[in-house]
Symmetry: C2
Subunit: 202 residues, 2 copies
């Protein structure tokens, strides 16, 4: 559920333009490095006009963050105990890697917030996120008990999937510098599939 639903078409347009601009700017400069002026310019509005739609810089940031956390966890929610364990996990890896490729700004915004100690979403991490991860760790434990995959620590398995996929979005600059500008994603997809298959296939 989004904030108080905008009524007019123009409100809807401007609010979403601001959020898009906010994502662009916040993900590039971090919260402190972003200015209301920059966001306003990116959204094609004047600063006071932007502040007519959102009460403050922080309000934009918070709305982005809360929307993001959901989107970001959707692939994990989709991880279900539907028979084939390994393909299910490989699918999750693939979906996360796709997101790193297609939504790097979202990944970086999130990374920025966690790096600063997650001051604004600590509760969500200790609450919803922990609950969801614990739940999925249980699913993985069942797969292990049933002999469908090898014995691994489910939490660290999940962490490793996050780390490996998000690395390609968050550290994009470094990865491309080392690869000499070459697109990392085809290679990454193959590498990660092999990596997790080797570790998990019984």
């Amino acid at each position: 559920m989004t904030k108080s639903a905008p009524r007019t078409r123009i409100q809807e347009k401007n609010r979403s333009a601001i959020l898009e601009a906010g994502l662009e700017v916040f993900s590039k400069f971090g919260y402190r490095g972003s200015t209301v002026d920059k966001i306003a310019e990116a959204a094609g509005l004047s600063k006071p006009n932007l502040l007519y739609y959102f009460p403050s810089k922080e309000a934009i940031y918070l709305e982005l963050l809360s929307g993001l956390l959901d989107t970001w966890l959707d692939p994990l929610r989709a991880l279900n105990d539907d028979g084939k364990a390994l393909p299910e996990i490989l699918d999750y890896v693939g979906r996360k890697l796709d997101m790193a490729r297609d939504f790097p700004r979202e990944s970086r915004l999130f990374a920025n917030e966690i790096l600063q100690g997650a001051p604004r979403i600590e509760d969500a991490l200790k609450g919803d996120l922990k609950t969801l991860v614990d739940e999925k760790a249980e699913v993985i434990r069942h797969w292990i008990a049933a002999g469908k995959i090898k014995d691994v620590d489910p939490h660290h398995l999940i962490f490793s999937i996050w780390a490996l996929t998000q690395h390609y979005a968050d550290f994009d600059t470094q990865v491309r510098a080392v690869l000499g500008g070459q697109d990392p994603f085809p290679g990454a997809e193959h590498y990660l599939e092999q990596l997790f298959t080797s570790r998990l296939k019984p």
Copy 2:
């Protein structure tokens, strides 16, 4: 080689106090989020006094960064073609994980810089870093050709080691939130050892 060598004992003491304070503050708030006042306070100096030792906020940041990149790459430099391939790689993983545990501020400072697009160290990444990684990739390729480890893309192997180890420093907040405050490192060490052994052991 460090900057112009400080002459007096007091200069040495204050300069290193400032660098220590800078590391503390920059790694916590990022470049833009850090103020000269905060760094000065952490170093136990007044702002003008701090600026007597360093010409600007950026100078502190740059000196930290350039010193860091070296330290950060030392473990990779130590990766040598000395017979046993897999233990060599597992050692590298272990050393990087130790650094993530013992020097998380350094890792976060670096992560912050890369996240912002590495505006101040792009050249170093495309130069020294790429050279070093390409060189070590060649070592790994030899191991593969000699049948000492399984066939993997050397660059992505190195990326995966970086991603997995630094994740525990950079995303510490998230990891601990999900684990309910439990120390992640013992579990991480075991998980990573198994992961790379499974993938690489011929």
